[in-house]
Symmetry: C2
Subunit: 378 residues, 2 copies
């Protein structure tokens, strides 16, 4: 697998953005977050973990995007297809790039509308006081969902990276039965699993969610602690690993010792629900349709507590849309999605199962190696 | 090492916040980001990687903080010291918690001032359209640097966690000379190092920066690629690992084969600069003083390009203050800091060296195992 993208890919993304901008009379798109900046530039770094510095990319009505960034990023931005890179010595405690940004926006947009993503699953990554300051020179309007529309549909090159991430995770999941055993702590299992992901080729492992408990678990977002695995426990591991800036996001459940028949039955229904999701995942259907196809098999009670039955996937662990009854987003060719049905086993305990797919012309292509049965750790 | 904090710790943090709020006539503090929410609740999860859902915590003028969060977080929030937990079924594409938040703010603050962090290194983690929507019911004002002031000074319990993270990284760095060799790619070295961090006890490894090049490197934020290590290369590894929600952030340089004398000399100066930083790191000095103490030894030319000579450290990889000439933040007992001098070797190539300390009554305590010389990989 080759890292990076061709310049043609970034040019095509920019052109698509500019077509949508023209439709909405937007003269410049202002982007501040890691996935949005990377989408148009290819600027890939873990440095975003540092909250110190703001980073800006402006997509003009025509021509290449313009980077307005801290000087520390110049060397890396120089390696991308971007030509117009404007830097300042950040951190600047008085004016952390705001005047440079405002000037560049004036030059780029003139009196035209400047838009920024403002909807669901977005935020503006800069200090609120700086937004207020910027507002004295420029009015920010909504991007009308342009970034959402663009990023939801993946190119083949993006899909290849996600498929590769899925394949790495598949190898790591296959290793679990060989290292996990009764008596290990959650933390030990979690760390071994992360190492297995790295050994299998992950660049990094930003996310590993776990569940552990008799016949199921109560939640899937708690950190790994010092609780030890017991006979009869169900272990869920969900990753969250990255390759070249793209995530996979699927899970596997494991039984420590012979599983309770109610667990096996629940797991079978999750497998069936994921299969129903695959069948329903066709262009033209909606996110809500996909939810209903899976909920028909699992029931929807617990699903509504956990939140949803899956979501988009790409440069972020979760992206739009959401598989809930009220999301009527139309599925399109190129959307990469997770199918994530959940079900109650006993006494409020749940199992969650998750796989990854992409919508193709003729239906869904499986990106993760779909599970067929509950793995048992003896 | 014990995970978590006592309820008394959270009560003390809340009390300190409320004293500062009273001073600034703030009736409620609205918090939206992972470190701020965790600071008052102990809510620790990797789930923040998902941008889908907003999370809110309100610190009232008196009494415990109130959590206004997606239902998926209820089970985990129930395990914290927080009593008042209000949830909604998120994602809600029409009203993703905003009415619940606005109602809770009305109940908590009445007609009083509602403040949110708005300064350097902060952002509001919710959709901009939702901020606008919230603004029709409540005016958000500046927190006047309250969160910055609180979070910059660490408790002993926090310092213990950071020291433990440093110790884990120290073990991992010691392993590098045994696994790294000429001919390995950056990516291979990076992944092996992450595994070494996990083996040594890291919960996860969110950040590993690398430099690799003859006699030094050009930048320290680029991702690990497929370039192979050559004889004469200098390798820099910088982590970025976490234990129980706290980071260490220090690095080590390694020479592949006998180093060029100019590299050895530059590295010696970095060791000296870090030692000068330790000596200058006393309560009452300023961040700028610490910068100058180190720059006196290294020169400041390259430092200004890289950005700074260190920063605060805690629940985030980088925190306030910044060691730059213009940051006049007074150093206080309990501040955890990185000393990060950098220096040019030849032709624009740099070395960066980083260690971690905490300010004590009688000067600095070293948290990372300070390096004394450049390690050589033979």
């Amino acid at each position: 697998m080759k890292r990076g993208f061709t310049d043609a890919e970034f040019a095509a993304r920019t052109k698509r953005a500019q077509a949508l901008m023209a439709k909405h009379d937007i003269a410049a798109l202002l982007l501040t977050t890691e996935p949005d900046v990377r989408y148009f530039t290819g600027f890939l770094t873990q440095f975003w973990l540092s909250p110190t510095r703001p980073w800006f990319v402006i997509v003009p009505a025509s021509g290449k995007p313009i980077a307005v960034i801290p000087a520390i990023g110049q060397a890396l931005m120089n390696t991308t297809w971007i030509d117009d890179i404007r830097t300042w010595a950040s951190p600047d405690l008085i004016d952390d790039g705001i005047t440079l940004l405002a000037d560049t926006l004036s030059e780029t947009a003139g009196q035209g509308r400047i838009a920024t993503p403002d909807g669901h699953e977005t935020h503006i990554r800069m200090p609120y006081a700086d937004i207020t300051h910027l507002s004295t020179r420029h009015t920010l309007t909504s991007d009308m969902g342009i970034m959402r529309a663009l990023r939801m549909v993946k190119s083949d090159a993006e899909i290849d990276k996600i498929r590769h991430a899925c394949s790495i995770a598949g190898t790591a999941f296959n290793a679990v039965t060989s290292f996990a055993h009764i008596g290990m702590t959650q933390s030990q299992i979690n760390r071994k699993f992360q190492s297995a992901c790295l050994d299998a080729g992950a660049d990094n492992v930003p996310y590993v969610a776990m569940g552990l408990g008799q016949c199921g678990y109560f939640d899937v977002i708690s950190p790994a602690g010092d609780i030890t695995a017991q006979s009869g426990d169900i272990l869920m591991l969900d990753t969250g690993l990255m390759w070249d800036g793209y995530y996979c996001d699927f899970d596997r459940n494991f039984a420590f010792g012979p599983p309770d028949p109610r667990v096996t039955s629940a797991h079978d229904r999750l497998i069936d629900a994921a299969a129903a999701g695959v069948n329903a995942a066709v262009a033209g259907a909606t996110a809500a349709d996909l939810f209903r196809a899976m909920a028909k098999i699992t029931g929807a009670g617990k699903a509504m507590e956990a939140g949803r039955f899956g979501h988009g996937l790409g440069t972020q662990l979760t992206e739009w849309p959401s598989f809930i009854p009220t999301d009527h987003t139309e599925l399109k060719v190129g959307m990469v999605l997770t199918l994530e049905p959940s079900i109650e086993t006993i006494d409020g305990r749940i199992l969650v199962h998750e796989e990854n797919i992409v919508i193709r012309e003729n239906g869904a292509e499986k990106l993760s190696p779909f599970a067929t049965e509950l793995a048992v750790i003896t």
